[in-house]
Amino acid sequence: MKEKEMELKEKKEAKPAAGEGTRPGPVFIPAVDILEDPTGITILADMPGVDGKNVDIDLRDNQLTIIGRIDPAEGEKEVSLHREFQWGDFFRQFTLSEVIDQNKITAKMDEGVLRLILPKVEKMKPQKIKVSAG
């Protein structure tokens, strides 16, 4: 297999209405992977600069909200010479179609990547249905 070279993708800014707007500065939409297996849904979100303690996850009805707040990376005395990307918080919302077991949700931040595990409610797990020949 040929080595895959990464391409630069510009950070997508969240629409002002979507963000909470309590802090100045831009708000970006994190890139996500959403995976599903029989036990639950896993969301992986790239939120560089966000510490674990600055992540808010909110699940209300079936609306999932992810907010990541960054700590300022640049010191106050630093003078900008060259800028290709903006610093900003992260915000993304999803509507979940599955019933999630709210008490078993786990979230972990590792190297700027959020791993959010949303286990399905036990009774929602798929059951094999036997088809009998008539």
């Binding site: 896993t42 990376a73 630093e78 990547v113």
Partner: protein, 146 residues
């Protein structure tokens, strides 16, 4: 339109336009590099006292998968972003995150002390600290009275 003799130094419309063009040219170029290089990862460069600081957003990239070097006045950042395989019962609803190799270079404004360059990964942000070389630092020259 009236034809007016151009007099340098006088704040004419032409001077203002030329200044604006100079400003734009400076904004769009950093040495020989374009403002946006379109190469992953995007970089920011700042200056603080005797150091240049270069930062990149590299979520999920491990320190051991990065290779950073200073070659002839340029900073070279190479590495690989790996995304681990999930179980075989897993199906994807969305896949926006990418994995792969990257190699990026950026020209430094002045000479740096290559042996004192350090790099840190924290929460998916790479910070490279490049101390300016001794010879580029301003030197105060004492004036003796004869």
């Amino acid at each position: 339109m009236a034809i007016v003799r151009w007099q340098p130094g006088e704040s004419s419309e032409f001077d203002r336009l030329r200044q604006e063009m100079d400003r734009l040219t400076n904004l769009l170029s950093w040495g020989t590099e374009p403002f946006f290089s379109r190469v992953y990862p995007a970089l920011n460069m700042t200056e603080e006292g005797d150091n240049f600081l270069v930062r990149a957003e590299l979520p999920g990239v491990k320190a051991e998968d990065l290779d950073i070097s200073v070659v002839e006045g340029r900073l070279v950042i190479r590495g690989e972003r790996k995304i681990g395989a999930e179980g075989k019962d897993t199906n994807y609803h969305r896949k926006e995150r990418e994995a792969g190799f990257f190699r990026r270079t950026i020209t430094l404004p002045t000479k740096v002390a290559a042996d004192k360059v350090s790099a840190v990964m924290r929460n998916g942000i790479l910070t490279v600290t490049l101390p300016k070389s001794e010879e580029t630092k301003p030197r105060r020259i004492a004036v003796k009275s004869a």
